[in-house]
Amino acid sequence: MMTIRWPLALLFAVLLLLPLGLQDYLLHMAIQILIWGFVYTGWSVMGRFGQVSLGHGAFLGVGAYTTALLWNNFGLVPWIGIPIGVAFAVLLALVIGYPCFRLKVVGHYFALVTLALSQVVLLSIVAARDITGGSLGMTPNSVGQSSWLALQFTSKMHWYFVALAVWAFGLWVWVKVDRGMGRAAMEAVSEDETAAAAVGINVTREKLRVTVISAAMTAFGGALFGQYQMYLNPETLSGIGVSLQIVFAAIAGGMYSLLGPTVGALLTIALTEGLRIGFGTTLIGAANTIYGILLILFIIFMPRGITGFFGAWTKRRAATAAATT
């Protein structure tokens, strides 16, 4: 426990002081890493139990668009809009999850259903162009100044601390799930649903539980990202591209460890920025292809992700060190 607590406390101390020394550009990177780290952590809450969703873009889009549309059309502040967006995402997760889990749609088949879901949400947003702006995207109405009520800030520093708080909340949820009996139940379910049911585990319920938590976090992250960017685009907030990016980041960073998904966010943001700076606009859209290739490489060579890999490596080193002394 001590071994885990100290570095984490140190990390938080650094993260609290960090923005003081950063210019806006780096702050912008940090905010994105935190928000996406939160989203990826949300994905791994279910992904770590073998429930691979290729459609989390759906929840991202529902959260972001609901919040923005309620604000633009009805003047509902994000404090109300975000919970409603999250509720819609949860509803969507239940509507998709319940029949899937009841009918034992698992593994590849489940992944395909979710993949389709993300595309359905993307196409719906594009089709409803009259209110969503279609593929051109939409902009939440700006209040022109920093406002807690409208959740709009002109200073990146504000955003940094909002994102930091949400990210920390995500870690807390991850730990809660990790420490509960529900984790053991889901490990059992992911291994053998029949045996799990035989010892009294309501398999459908347990799966829905993590799915709902995951969808809610993702929708929350999506809404927040929309607020931060002050621009919503169906391609970046729903559909297959961003869904695969989420999967890639969580797996590459390591979905079995607390900070793995955040490491994944570091990776995706660095990659996107690297491509943008290195190749300008010529490689726009190449990121998804690169994610795809990297995802395959990670699944083959580093299935537990970067954090899992180094975790095992340090353990091995400690073991050999102990053996030689």
Binding site: E187, A195, V199
Partner: protein
């Protein structure tokens, strides 16, 4: 305690269990035997909710349970072991059993209590009850014991034990039989025990039911089963 009436299960056109009826009374240790493929495990799967019956009724303590989901049947106090052990490999031995104790009682026990129930069940079957031991080192006998501990920790009133002797050597078989007997007498758990060989089972059970090709061909005392013509045919091949 358990009343099975006209239980039938067909897989496509193949009838695995055909119009089987029997009763289990409280405190009984009932043997259910029959050659491989005679429908014993399917009967268990139907009672425990792993499979849905094609026809027939299953009443447990007066309530119809035919068609209920497996976890619901478990919550009612009916536990089962699997013929081929199905341990949760990602969890340690004790965690396997704690999980069963926790979920088997459907939230009626807390985590600490579940842990205590798990330790008790592991001691009953003679497995290590520390938190660190994994399932990795378990052989056939150990895995059978884990199955049993997991079922016991859900605090059942009726236990369905499927082929507890499969893959065991002679000494282990005697031990396993003695364990089931002890569970019945000391914990007061009613047991239906499935085995495809007669052997030790016949020495221990109060009553025996014999299945063949999904049909019940005998019901009565073990001593009578040994003398029954149809049972002999099934077990020794047709003799003219």
């Amino acid at each position: 305690m358990l009343s099975v009436r006209g239980l039938t299960k067909s897989f496509g056109g193949f009838v695995a269990v055909s119009d089987v009826s029997f009763e289990v009374s409280e405190g009984e240790l009932l043997g259910l035997i029959g050659p491989n493929g005679s429908g014993k495990s399917t009967t268990f799967n139907l009672i425990a909710g792993t499979l849905k019956p094609t026809a027939g009724s299953i009443r447990f303590e007066g309530e119809e349970i035919g068609g209920l989901a497996a976890h619901q049947v478990c919550h009612m106090g009916l536990a089962r072991t699997f013929q081929i052990p199905r341990p949760f490999r990602k969890l340690g031995i004790r965690e396997n059993v704690t999980l069963a104790a926790y979920y088997g009682r459907h939230g009626r026990v807390g985590r600490d209590e579940a842990e205590a129930l798990a330790v008790e069940a592991l001691e009953t079957v003679g497995l290590p009850s520390d938190a660190a031991t994994t399932t990795e080192g378990l052989g056939a006998a150990g895995l059978k014991k884990l199955e049993l501990a997991r079922a016991l920790s859900t605090q059942p009133r009726l236990l369905l034990a499927d082929e507890s002797l499969g893959g065991l050597d002679v000494a282990e078989m005697d031990q396993a039989a003695e364990m089931l007997e002890r569970i019945r007498t000391e914990k007061g758990i009613t047991i239906v025990w499935v085995e495809h060989i007669m052997g030790v089972l016949m020495r221990v059970v109060d009553r025996v039911i014999v299945l063949d090709h999904g049909e019940k061909i005998f019901e009565g005392l073990p001593a009578d089963a040994a003398r029954d013509r149809r049972v002999a045919e099934v077990y020794l091949g047709t003799q003219h």
